[in-house]
Symmetry: D2
């Protein structure tokens, strides 16, 4: 007998909420039951499109008795409270990253989650990207021997508005946090963080004392070293690459191509078209796969991954990187 | 006001019929209303899956009054009759290639189609592949100047069963027919065909007097020359590439990669994983795009492409290639 | 004891003669002793540069008693006589391709060469290109199983002057002849030739009834098929690629890159600089390796390759291609 | 009138001395006049090969009155004294890197060099690599706008013997020193150094307290950040890549390929042969170009580059990186 589709309550119907709504609709094993957004027009439009019920109030979704799981896609400051309410209601949660910008709030929530046994999965969607996932699986399978160096290059196409920078928690908590999780996806036992940040082109970064260009180095107990290279802009388009160097070989994850056409002429040869613009295109498949995996989790067919503790660890590394970049000191990371 | 979805009658629920059924289901502007297959269990399973009605008889679908368009995915010998019946019923048709193995039957059907004004589209799905389509659009846009040479490499992963070879009409009508259409997609005015075929590895080809390896050369009025290189097998996987060489540059369409991961070690560097296995994977997006375009056609929002005459032209070229390969002579093509 | 350097007599000090003079000078096991050119200033300049003796008369070089081998780099119509004179003098010969444009003259010379036992090597330098040579060695080693298809793409950067076209013997004897030899380098037993030629852009080709664009198909006894694609111009630069497709895999020889730098920006990504301009750059290493191999041959440390008969075979294929292109018929090749 | 070849005195006839001897011999504008090596058999063999005079004593070369320039390829601890003696003799010097492992000795020598006006060039040969040089020229030409990030990946094929590690001055002074110079080749105004080093695989590194794996971050006044990634071994072969990321694009320098052949089969596609083994192959052209440029310098036709001060700056950065890696602190660099 085919199981009933998992009924989702979606909180937040902004850009990323729309991505998840579409993923839910596309998965025959999931259905969108409720959506909440204080911007009620957004909630209603989404509800109408997918045959769900709309409300302004997240609590109403959680307490509706008509949802099997909660997907939190609302602004970061609301995450902790919404996770708590969902967990108390016994509802598995898939929460967008980061859990919160304040590690203290994360730590305060942690005992409840551990005690509850309710699965809380973090939206580090890149783990589900077919390219990154294939590379990680091959590293874990030993295809390159012992992992010794990991280089993660992560550059956004363009800096966000200055106002966003002001509330983002800074580049390390906002942008690098994905790369911290990616580092931990490939490599266990990170113990030390150093970082260099500069502001060279973005007025928003300058205004808010943030960095627009950053390099982070992580040291693992094994002696492996991770290098993360970030920029808030990239004329080349969204640039997301990984190089895993091991004792017996190297795996590199390149940027996906828009298509397989290459142009040669008198000026240049074998030129490819620009990369897909941004994360919604680049990680479309990753979002879908993340949702499918979460559905399995809700059904007890998969274990939680990435976990609340993965979200916490990434935040600890982000905090450490911030401190390292500000002081020039290498910071021990207690994960 | 959103228009009602186009109601499809699908004739044939084999492998390729399944592909179209799924495309119809995935397109919000299309719906599967009826399916017909003499193998009634197949028809019923498909009907049940997509909420359609099943029958053994294609005529019942065409005359149901409940369909807006017919999609013909039944065996080749049935195509002509089914097109005729559909056209007489005033129903737009999307018919899998080839129209028929016998050019005389195609010619006999042609006046009816021209007189009827009912759109008949041929299933040369590769025109809708994002890679081929992007290259063709850039050629038409003049990105490489005047097109002078076109190389189409097309190799299947493995030869089909000997029994299939026997009914296939031969490699030129069965396999190269796609490449003939691709040649005409890029280039007008083909006037001459020469061909070389050999049988080197496939017992089925030997048994039925077919070729397993073939090269076809087409000459266009403009002086442009097309080279088609075919093989019934490929250890490398499904191999579908195009090189368009023009007076000012060159566009090449490569095989899509399974993912963007490359492996380097002591034996080889920058090695990529094998290509996606076969046409269902490689041309998945092409099938969907073909269906979406046909829906537009049914609604009068697009013109027919590729047309019945495109199907006829490809068959004329296939016949000519067969004769050229058998006699060693260059054959004039009257398209 | 180190052997004495081989003393070369160089006949012809034009562009290609200069290449050979430099190769001789660069090889510690070779030395340039005599040079001949009716354009005596050219001969003298070359002689002075490399410490050789100059003359107008090739015979004087051959009869000087001061040379161990003859390198013929004079115009094609002089080749047969110079080979004959050298062989009669017992001097090993390295002769630029083609032997002659007239097969009858080649056949007439053949018995003398066979009877003499004097090594006559033909200047099909591409066999010594490290890229082509590596691919051929791997094909011969069985890396791709049985060779089934060979695609040779060969395009010159720009058409030669119309006057040259008039004396060239036509594209097949002048340009494709290299590709015929390359085909035979990879594959034995060619038995049939078909060809299509057009004139689309070059006034010189039009003026002299030559083709500027051509495709040749060769069939081998084994069932393997060779495709040669030629153009007299290429906006992309000198374009020389090979694809060897076998029962178990495929080897492709790409164009060498000017350097390893790739540029990505908002318009295109991973764009490489244009290819090296023409054969002197592309095949510089091939010319040197050819000379080194010939020195070994003179010393009895290597066997002749490519031979006079290789030169003859390429000419037979060129003649057949010319006839095939003119008549549309497939021509049997009696090599 | 052609100028006389520059007469070289070569000090040191070990592996790198041989490279320079060959470069001198291959350059028509240079000649090897004297060679010195305490291992007199080595000196004699080299002298005989190239028609030079041999001695055990470097002073004898410098004072011979028969040399126009000195090339120092002896062990590092001898460099400072030999530079001093050459400069006092008024002889231009090309000295292998590093000047010395002890910055104090370098500083002590500096005033003499500045006062003398005698050109002293440092053997940072990678600046002359056609790939790196082309990329740098394009960065300087503004092809990627303002340089914001530079990633230098530099991995040796295999760790040197433990005994060598003990005298090498450590990975930063021995290996990274090339990368420090490369960073300065692309980017001015480096002001800060941080570094992470680990020992994960090399017993020699463990024995001598050195690192076998290292990452260095350099900050420039402009806000640009340089990342250097080093390993003492690489299963992939010698791995030397650069990525220059700017406000308007990105230039990447890849590893040169052994040849242009790629293999595809059922296991992997488009696989390339392993990279050239080590620096003598990879940088062969760079060594030749370096020598040719130095000859121009001796003749007053070029300015010194890289200079003694470039050698000093690289050593300062190496010292800073060593301290940074040992303490975890970010170190200000006073260049």
């Amino acid at each position: 007998m085919t199981p009933q589709p998992v009924r989702f309550g979606l909180i937040g119907t902004g850009r990323i909420g729309q991505v998840h709504a579409a993923s839910i609709a596309a998965d025959p094993e999931a259905t969108l039951a409720w959506v909440a957004d204080p911007f009620i027009e957004g909630a209603r439009a989404t509800a109408e499109r997918y045959g769900a019920t709309a409300t302004e109030f997240a609590e109403q979704v959680i307490n509706s008795g008509e949802v099997d799981a909660i997907l939190i896609a609302s602004p970061t400051p609301t995450h902790v409270d919404l996770i708590e309410a969902s967990v108390r209601a016994g509802l598995p949660v898939l929460c967008e990253k980061p859990i919160d910008l304040d590690l203290a709030r994360v730590e305060a929530l942690r005992p409840l989650i551990e005690a509850s046994g309710v699965p809380v999965a973090l939206g580090f969607n890149r783990r589900f990207d077919p390219n990154h996932a294939a590379a990680q699986a091959r590293v874990k399978a030993g295809d390159i021997g012992a992992l010794e160096q990991l280089i993660i290059i992560s550059r956004d196409p363009a800096a966000p508005p200055a106002a966003y920078i002001g509330t983002s928690g800074g580049i390390f908590r906002d942008m690098t946090i994905h790369d911290f999780d990616m580092a931990r996806f490939f490599l266990d036992g990170i113990v030390e963080v150093s970082a260099t940040g500069t502001r060279t082109f973005d007025p928003g970064a300058r205004e808010h004392g943030d960095f627009d260009t950053a390099v982070v180095t992580l040291r693992a107990e094994s002696g492996a070293i991770v290098t993360i290279v970030n920029s808030r802009h990239s004329a080349v388009g969204y640039d997301q690459r990984i190089e895993a160097f091991g004792s017996q070989g190297m795996l590199q994850v390149g940027n996906p191509q828009l298509n397989t056409v290459v142009l040669s002429n008198a000026h240049a040869v074998e030129a490819r078209p620009p990369y897909p613009e941004f994360f919604l295109e680049r990680y479309a498949e990753a979002y879908s796969a993340e949702l499918r995996e979460f559905v399995k989790l809700v059904r007890g067919e998969a274990s939680t991954s990435p976990t609340f503790d993965d979200g916490r660890a990434a935040l600890i590394l982000a905090d450490a990187a911030q401190r390292a970049a500000e002081t020039g000191a290498t910071i021990a990371a207690a994960l």
